[in-house]
């Protein structure tokens, strides 16, 4: 692939991201601007921003790579990543907005009135954020290496630096602009080349994956040799993705930028539409990839299939241009997701005791952004490459096993106590997190143990729920005193003038 076009494309996305971010700086004046854009973002802006933030390298590159390798069963990834928003819409969206909290730790403290529970939630936000950031940085290195031949650390460091500059300069308001812009960029960057690819495929006589030698196991879901394993793997993936979305710190923080609970619901519904449109595309790339780029499977480098296809199927300068457009979209994916994650990790770090007392809220956020990015960057540079979508899957499993029970029980169950919340988050976090670490350390094989560890959600989520309920029931004498008021606040429409105990 011509490195000039691609390098120009990457530079344009980087500069545009920085430019829009600095534009936001002109409006960011107060602390509230910094954290939640003063809660004045409309549903269309907000849903584009959520889409832009959510569609990471795992969606943009990873899904096509997994489908190329494993086939039909992997289409569950995009389905789950969309359906997660429906579950979020039904159980969490409006009450979460009405809770009036900035971050997940804020919500935790508001609901169970405990600084210990807040500390556990903060720790989990940072862990999930880092699990999610690491593959973004690795992916950026891989893509820049593929298209320009630069060493892999260049892309990783570049993305990290741009993200930190952006968060430092404008905070959430600028991030909202950047994210919304990046949803549409990513959609365009996949859609336009796909039109050309489909044209080339038609000219080629429309060869199917079966013609290209795809196996029966690739072609049909649930066709693996061991049906029990396949069924467990699929359902565990469904549990992790359907329930994990609501627990992702960078997704949840976006709900606070809605003007009210009703707008939060409408935003989420629009997100479902935007994601549904987007996720048609990576699947198509994976399928076409199986016809034209099946040899990538042997190299193990399947995350780059999306970028490879224009060169292989079209070639010439048109192929170069389309490849450059795809590269631009990939960088948009790295930048937007990393910005959102850095923002929420930085927010949590800034609200910790050191940040708040010594630096003040805005300087604390800036320091948090730097600290929050350096660790996953080092991790990304030091560790081996794992498939982007798989490693993002770990973050989902941990989120589903910790914040999902906290949010669902906290919003709907009056008897939740601080002890129950802490015990449940720890049980789920240690279970799922331990399984993730074990998977990375062990490597992978094909047995049940490997599956239980690499797809932990099916057992870790029920354990987390059960622990949270059981410990809460055992500590009913320590129920937070203000739970009735909290329920009023979470569930009643804002236009009713009720006492919500939400301060001046």
């Amino acid at each position: 692939m011509s490195s000039t076009y691609a390098a120009v494309a990457v530079a344009v996305v980087a500069l545009a991201t920085l430019g829009i971010g600095l534009f936001g700086l002109r409006f960011s004046r107060t602390t509230s601007d910094f954290y939640v854009a003063s809660r004045s973002v409309s549903p269309l802006w907000n849903s584009s921003a959520i889409g832009g933030e959510y569609l990471s390298a795992a969606s943009y590159l990873g899904i096509a790579g997994l489908i190329l390798t494993y086939g039909a069963d992997m289409v569950w990834f995009p389905v789950g990543w969309t359906a997660g928003y429906l579950v979020l819409l039904a159980f969490v969206a409006a009450p979460l907005r009405r809770s009036g909290a900035y971050t997940l730790p804020d919500f935790t403290q508001m609901r169970v009135q405990s600084t210990t529970a807040r500390a556990v939630a903060s720790m989990l936000v940072v862990v999930i954020g880092w699990l999610y950031l690491m593959p973004q940085f690795q992916g950026a290195g891989l893509v820049l290496h593929t298209v320009t031949g630069a060493p892999t650390w260049v892309g990783s460091v570049m993305v990290a630096v741009i993200v930190v500059v952006n968060v430092i300069s404008g905070g959430m308001r600028s991030i909202t602009f950047v994210q919304a812009f990046q949803y549409w960029l990513k959609l365009t960057a996949l859609l336009v080349p796909l039109v050309f690819l489909l044209h080339a495929w038609t000219d080629d006589g429309r060869p199917t994956p079966a013609d290209a030698g795809a196996s029966a196991a690739w072609l049909s879901p649930m066709a693996a040799d061991a049906p029990g394993l396949a069924l467990y793997a699929t359902y565990s993936l469904i549990v992790a993705t359907f329930l994990g979305t609501m627990g992702l710190p960078h997704v949840v923080v976006r709900f606070y930028t809605n003007p009210d609970g009703r707008a939060a619901r409408r935003t989420t519904l629009l997100v479902l539409a935007l994601l549904g449109v987007f996720y048609l595309l990576p699947t198509a790339y994976g399928v076409i990839g199986r016809v034209y780029a099946a040899d990538l499977v042997a190299t193990g480098n399947t995350d780059i299939v999306v970028l490879e296809l224009p060169m292989r199927m079209i070639g010439g300068s048109l192929g170069d241009l389309l490849g450059a457009l795809l590269t631009a979209g990939a960088f948009a994916a790295f930048l937007s997701t990393s910005s959102g994650l850095t923002m929420s990790v930085a927010g949590v770090l800034a609200q910790g005791s050191v940040g708040r007392r010594v630096l003040g809220p805005v300087a604390g956020l800036r320091a948090g952004a730097v600290v929050g990015t350096v660790f996953p960057l080092v991790l990304a540079l030091a560790s081996d490459q794992i498939a982007v979508a798989s490693s993002v899957g770990f973050a989902f499993a941990v989120a589903a096993s910790t914040f999902c029970p906290l949010l669902v029980l906290g919003i709907w169950w009056r008897r939740l106590t601080a002890a129950g919340a802490v015990a449940g988050m720890l049980a789920g976090g240690i279970g799922a997190g331990g399984a993730v670490v074990a998977t990375i350390v062990r490597g992978s094989d094909d047995g049940w143990l490997d599956l239980l560890l690499s797809r932990p959600a099916a057992w870790s989520v029920p354990i987390a729920f059960a622990t949270m309920v059981a410990v809460s029931l055992a500590t009913q004498n320590r129920r937070p005193s203000n739970v009735a008021r909290t329920m009023v606040r979470l569930h009643t429409p804002e236009r009713l003038l009720l006492d919500r105990a939400d301060g001046p």
Partner: protein, 125 residues
């Protein structure tokens, strides 16, 4: 002035009808704000109706989408070729998304209706 002047101890006596609080109906907002038993009933009924709705959505999603892996396993859908790919690809890769959106849309309409019913109850004169 050491003794008590009986005139100082005089008290004004008025008819009880002039100072008794007028009987006023308490509003639902007051009941909720003061966390009375009646206020609790109102809030609980709202929370319960919204929770029921969320659980219905969850059940519909579990049946419609969660049932697919078993359906793919039991039924021989991959024998049906649609264009370049077997049928399950189209179901999972395309068909699922509009269904998710429609369920979400129905939820938004229904939950706003629940809230309106609650608001009407609270604001009833």
């Amino acid at each position: 002035m050491t003794g008590t002047d009986p005139a100082v101890d005089r008290v004004r006596i008025t008819s009880p009808h002039t100072t008794a609080r007028p009987r006023r109906r308490r509003t639902v907002v007051q009941e909720i704000d003061e966390e009375t038993a009646i206020g609790e009933v109102y809030v609980r009924s709202l929370v319960r109706s919204q929770l029921r709705l969320a659980l219905v959505v969850a059940a519909v999603v579990a049946a419609a989408i969660g049932g697919l892996p078993i359906l793919f396993m039991v039924a021989d859908l991959e024998a049906v070729q649609v264009g370049p790919l077997p049928l399950p690809w189209w179901v999972l890769g395309v068909g699922v998304y509009p269904v998710l959106f429609l369920i979400g849309w129905a939820f938004v309409v229904a939950s706003e209706r629940n809230e309106r019913a609650f608001s009407d109850l609270v604001e009833r004169p």
